[in-house]
Every structure is written in C-alpha cells, then in structure tokens.
Amino acid sequence: MFYREAGQFKTSYVDDQAIFPIRQDRIGLAVILAIAFIGVPLFGSEFFISAIMVPLLVFSLAAIGLNILTGYTGLLSLGTGGFMGVGAFACYKLTTIFPDVNIIVWILVSGFFASGIGILFGLPSLRIKGFYLAVATLSAQFFLDWAFVRIPWLVNDNTSGAIEVPMRTLFGIPVTGPTAQPEVRYLVVLSVVAFLTLIASNLVHGRIGRSWMAVRDMDLAAELIGIRLYRAKLLAFAVSSYYCGVAGALMVFLWYGSAEPAVFGIDQSFFILFMVIIGGLGSLVGSFFGAALIYGMPIIIKSFVSLFGLQIAPATVEHVTFMTVGGLIVLFLIIEPAGLARLWQIGKQKLRVWPFPY
C-alpha cells in the first residue's frame, strides 16, 4: 500500500538508471542513514555502540569486499583474513612512520597495500577456477599468517608481537587509542563504511560490475563479447582486497585497539565467508544482513538470557548460541538458498503488490 511506485514516472535516462529508482527506497535509506548517523550516537548505550555497531560495520565492509570477489565475480576466496591483516599492518606501519598524516587517510591508503597483495595472489585465478582457486587463496591466507608472525618489522619489533595502536586525532578529537570516545569511533567507522558502500554500489551497477557478473555467469561468453578476463578478474581481486584491507585497518584501529596476528587467521576468513553466503552472494545489502546475523545473533541470544534473568552458566549459553546460530543458518539456507538478500527482495516484491497480489 505504502510501498508502491505507481505514479512515479521517469522522464530521463538518469532517473531510470538511478541506484534507487523508487521514491520509498530513497526515503527508507535516508531514514536509515539518519538513524545511523544521529540516532545511534545520541541514544545508543556504550555497549551497543562499541560492542555491536562498530564490529557490525567493520564486518559488513569486509563482507562487501569478499562479496565483490565471490558474489559478483564468482571467484571463491579463503584469503579474506590475510587481506584484512595486510590492511591493518600497512596502516600501523604508515602511521608510525608518518605520524603527522591523518589516520583516516592512512586507513584509506592501507587498502591499496592489501590491493597489491590481492592482485599478486589473484594471478592464479587467470588459470584456475572454483575449488582449485579456493585452495590457491588458502595459500595466500597461510603465507600472510606466517608473514605476520615471523616478520618483526611489521610490528616495529614489539616484544608482544602485536599491533599496539597509538593515539591519533581528527580535528583535535582522539579517534584511535584508549581515550577515543565510542561515539567518535563509531561515526568515523560509519562514515568510511557508508562512503565505500556508495562507491561499491556504483561500481557493481556500472560497466565494471556488469563485466564482473558476466565473468561470473559464464567466462567464455564474457570473453566472446569482449570482456578481457584477466583485467576483470584482477580488478575484482584488487577492489575486493582493498575493501578487506580497509576493514582490517578499521577493525584494529577503531575497534580492537591492539591485535595479535592470530586475529587474521583462517577463522576470520571463514567467518566473513559465512556472512557472505548467509547474506546473499552478489548483494551489497546482503553483506550487511549477513554480518548482522552471524555476528549479531549470538549477542542477541546472550542478552535475551540476561534480560529474563535466567540463571544459566555462560558456557552453556555459549553452547546453546553455537547450536542456535548453526540451526538458524541451516534454516535460512533451506528457506532461501540465495541468502537473506533474496528474502528481502521477495518481501519488497510482495509489499509492492499488496494488498492485491496477482
């Protein structure tokens, strides 16, 4: 009833090709952004902001990165954790070598280092496909893991072997380090994620995105219609790793505050891959849904337990959470194998024709 596009006429190609052609979508997005930028920092509790929202946004960004590679271009990757690590370590090196340059600049630049590494490990994708490529990217993960632990130069020879995030400011307000307020950190993360999501959205809806999807759907056909495979594939690796790298830098600098190399292990790669699969391959909004389900669900279950004042041992809660999240994943995949994004699309379609479905 409310979600109906009747009467909205497009009179130019620009209107017709807009990312959000329906007015209600634009209003909805504006409301979401207003809540995210104004409502959450104003009314969110410290726990909600630093333990739920910041991680969610960081994981969403990493999921978008992997989605570009796996969802849009069809190249399965298990190296996400490693690429995130490259971003984090690059950012740490850059900000300790040039401490006067703004940290936001370094966070965005550190993604290019991840990009470079991504292209390097993306080279096998020109020859191999599917599971074999997954194994090739797995080697990237193991190599990077190894490098983070063994090269003390990466952590400036810290005896703890970990990144120790220094204090950095933006307009005189601390952004990283222990004195940074959660609201400030959140707003920085949100701005970066919103900006990069906008770029990603433009990328995947444009020529480049179409060439990626053509490669995904049938690489032979894509080649025949004039798409240069090596370019499209390597570009996908570059862009995907860039997003993962920025997500890694955000994770360490604005969330953890200090991180051991173990954080960027194979577990992290799988964690992000699950988000992408559950959220929906080839969907940006799905990346957010996936991150919300995989990361947020356990916290929601835990807070339910404490909300009702149930006296259950935390270890039991942990086991129950594991089982419930596992069960939910199976359930969602049975209901909709294409992920939460597809469910969202179906819901929107139903709303469009409601109350007179045909």
Partner: protein
C-alpha cells in the same frame, strides 16, 4: 489447548516470581562488589580453561558462602565466556564495564593487550596473572596493570638457572645445545631475546622450534628436527593442545623426559598424555597442588559438596584448579586491602588498584586464610607490580606433580634491564602514553 485453571495460575505466579527475582537482583547488586571472571569453558583452549574457571569461581563463591563475602560485602561473581577469542573478550569487557567491575582477569594475552591502554581510562585494574605483557611489571609506567607473581622472562631465567644447576654451574653450559619449543605467537616468542642474550653470555647454542597456533596438534616436523639436533635440554612455552602433543612427540622420539622442562602452564593432563613414559617431565610452578589446605577443604564443604558450582569434584586440587584459586586469592586479598585503605565497604576500581599495589601476602597471612604453605609470600609495590616470586621445579612421577628441589630465584640482573627497556619502548611507541599521576600508598 485447554490447560487446567490451576496450571494457568501457577504459570502466572511463576512468571511473577521470576519477574520479582529479576527486578530484585539489580537492587541487591548495589550492595556487592562486582567481580567479573573472563573464562573459557569452550573452544580450543577449554582443556586448560575449565580448571582455571572452576578454581577462580569456587574460591570466591566459598568466601561468599563461608564469610558472606569480603568485609561483610558479598561478591557478585559473573562469568563471561570468551572462548579465548579476542573478539568475544572485548565484547565481555564492554558488557561488564558499565557494572563497575573492580578488576578484570582476561586470561588471554590477546585480550590483555587491548585492555592495557584502556585500564587507565576506564579506571579498571587488569590482573594478568603471570601472562600478558611482561613489561607491565613496571608499575611506574603501567599503574593499572598487575602481572604477579612472575613474568615470562623471570620464568625463562629460572628454567635456565635450573638447567645450569643440573649441568654443574651456568658456566658449564658452554658448548651445550638447548632447544626451545614454543607457541609461535607473542607469548611463546617473548623469552627469545633473553635466551639469545644468555646464549651469548654463557656460550650455549639455542635451537628454536616454533609451533604455529593452527598446527599445535601436528608437531612431527619439529620433533624430527629435535631428533636431528639432539639438544641437551628442551624448554617449552606452550598452552592448550600444544603441550600434550609435545609431550607425546617427545616420548615418541625417546627424548630423555627429565631434560624436558616447561614453563608453568603444563597441567596433569598434559604430562599424562605421554603415558607412563612421560615420567620425569618437568615444569615450573609457584603454588602447591592437592586439596590438603583448609581453604580448599572449605571449598569442598561450602561449595562443591553443596552443588553450588559446575565443578567436577575430581578437579579440585589439580594444578590448574589451584592456579585459579591463587588468582582468586589475589583478587580477594586485593579487595580486602582496598577496603582497609579506602575505609569503604563497597570499593571501586580505583580503590582496587591501590589495594593491589600495596598487596602483601605474607606467610602468616596465607596461613590465616587457610592457604599456609600454598605459595611463597608475595609483596607488590608501586614500582614493582610483579613481585618476581621465586618458583620451584616439579616433576611428573607418572600420576601427579611432585616438587623437586628448593626455590629458584629469577636472574634479576638479566631480567630487569630487559623489563625497563621494554616498558620504555612501549611508552615511546604509544605516543601520548600518560605519565603516572596516581599517588603511591604506603603498604598497610
């Protein structure tokens, strides 16, 4: 569905009772001291984590049951499951922070590191008992971090002086080969600079055998190298599945077990993994095992026998269970001290910091709390947040750990320059690290 009426009423009554209990809890919480315990009863390190969680919880619960808490104030003990995962540990920290915890025990170096800079800002002291950042022993630089009773560098120097005493003096180590198998992470790599320096000083050869965290259960290649290199002694810094695997592999290649020495994290299960052949395996330790202490008996009487805990009764008195007790004893003594110093009953994190800084657990005090002879006396000060307690060597006799030999003191002359250098380096790298402004209390 048709439920009988009384069933419905009893359901409503039950819900009401639950609701009142739920609303009554926060009111009671104000009159208590909130002690969150970060534990891991799940995940890859739960084999060690369960014992520690049980020991920590049971000692504090025993104080609640026997004495009604500390100084007449109940302890609100809450466990938060971290699974040894930094991500979940930080979530636990955020979740507990608003409830005014008096102290945080992260029980993972990965969780300790991010909390070190936050402790001063959030005014919550961190007690990382014999793990975490060694440099945090320097109280003037890290006023909010406590890592008693010994650092990993102390441990390394104690292992070495033990080896020296076996070889007939440290100077006799010249030309010998010492192997070091370790978890390839910050924790395991920490003693390497000290070992390297001592290798130079005493002229022995150091062989390193790193084990990646993902490869903990597959160490055959490392032990093949051990067989090739034939080190005169093996040293180990491990945790979780690394330790039983190493013991098993050492037995498999017939390495002389009495020359295999671990830092203080090897438990009974780890030693027993090699079967009867692992007899002679050694480990450092600073506290007793067994349940013969009055305080441990009280835990049995007031807590485990009454079923007020999830503890498996067979776990009481095991090495890591007792380590959990030691950790909770430090918390309890810190709280007591803080109450004395501040004159308040319900203390804050700031009071707790002062309490821990003036901690003085003498032999007489240990006896008083029913832990006489459990561990050596520990005294902390504003400058020294560690104590550098002497430890002893224990040997696996096939069924339990047996103490062998007397106290081994850390080589302070070698360790303290490293500690101060590391603390200085940390401050230099963390731009804007605050200078200590917290006043120093006199020990009471």
């Amino acid at each position: 569905m048709n439920f009988p009426v009384n069933f419905k009423t009893s359901m409503i009554a039950g819900a009401l009772v639950a609701a009142t209990v739920a609303t009554a809890l926060p009111a009671a919480a104000q009159e208590s001291i909130y002690v969150p315990l970060f534990t891991y009863r799940t995940g890859p390190f739960s084999g060690s984590g369960i014992y520690i969680a049980e020991g920590m919880h049971d000692y504090l619960e025993m104080l609640n049951q026997r004495d009604g808490g500390i100084g007449g104030v109940k302890l609100a003990i809450e466990e938060c499951e971290t699974g040894y995962d930094t991500k979940k540990g930080l979530e636990c920290y955020e979740a507990t922070k608003n409830k005014k915890p008096v102290v945080i025990n992260p029980w993972s170096t990965g969780i300790t590191l991010p909390l070190i800079p936050r402790a001063a800002v959030d005014k919550v002291p961190v007690l990382s008992m014999a793990y975490g950042l060694s440099a945090s022993a320097i109280g003037d630089t890290f006023p909010w971090i406590f890592n008693p009773p010994a650092t990993y560098w102390d441990g390394a120097s104690m292992i070495l002086s033990y080896i020296g005493s076996k070889a007939g003096g440290l100077d006799k180590l010249k030309g010998k080969t010492l192997g070091f198998i370790y978890l390839d992470a910050g924790f395991g790599k920490e003693p390497i600079p000290l070992f390297e320096q001592l290798a130079k000083d005493y002229g022995f050869t150091l062989k390193l055998y790193p084990v990646a965290a993902t490869e903990m259960q597959n160490q055959s290649s490392q032990w093949l190298n051990v067989r090739r290199d034939k080190p005169d002694f093996m040293m180990m810094y491990g945790w979780g599945a690394l330790q039983p695997t190493a013991v098993k592999e050492a037995v498999k290649i017939n390495y002389p077990m009495d020359k295999f020495i671990s830092i203080w994290w090897a438990s009974e299960d780890d030693a027993a993994a090699g079967g009867p052949a692992s007899k002679g395996f050694k480990s450092l330790n600073w506290h007793a095992t067994g349940d013969s202490f009055p305080a441990v008996q009280d835990i049995k009487k007031y807590v485990t026998d009454k079923g007020l805990t999830q503890t498996d009764k067979g776990h009481v008195g095991k090495l890591l269970y007792n380590r959990g007790i030691y950790n909770s004893m430090l918390i309890a003594e810190g709280i007591r001290n803080a109450q004395k110093l501040s004159g308040k009953k319900v203390i804050t994190g700031e009071d707790m910091r002062r309490g821990l800084e003036t901690l003085n657990v003498s032999e007489a005090r240990l006896k008083e709390i029913g832990l006489g002879g459990f561990a050596g006396p520990l005294k902390l000060s504003c400058a020294d947040h560690n104590g550098h307690l002497a430890t002893f060597m224990q040997e696996w006799d096939g069924s339990k750990w047996a103490k062998i030999g007397g106290d081994i003191k850390p080589m302070s002359d070698k360790v303290s320059p490293l500690l101060s250098a590391a603390a200085k380096e940390y401050v230099d790298k963390a731009t804007g690290w605050p200078k200590r402004t917290e006043a120093c209390d006199k020990a009471s």
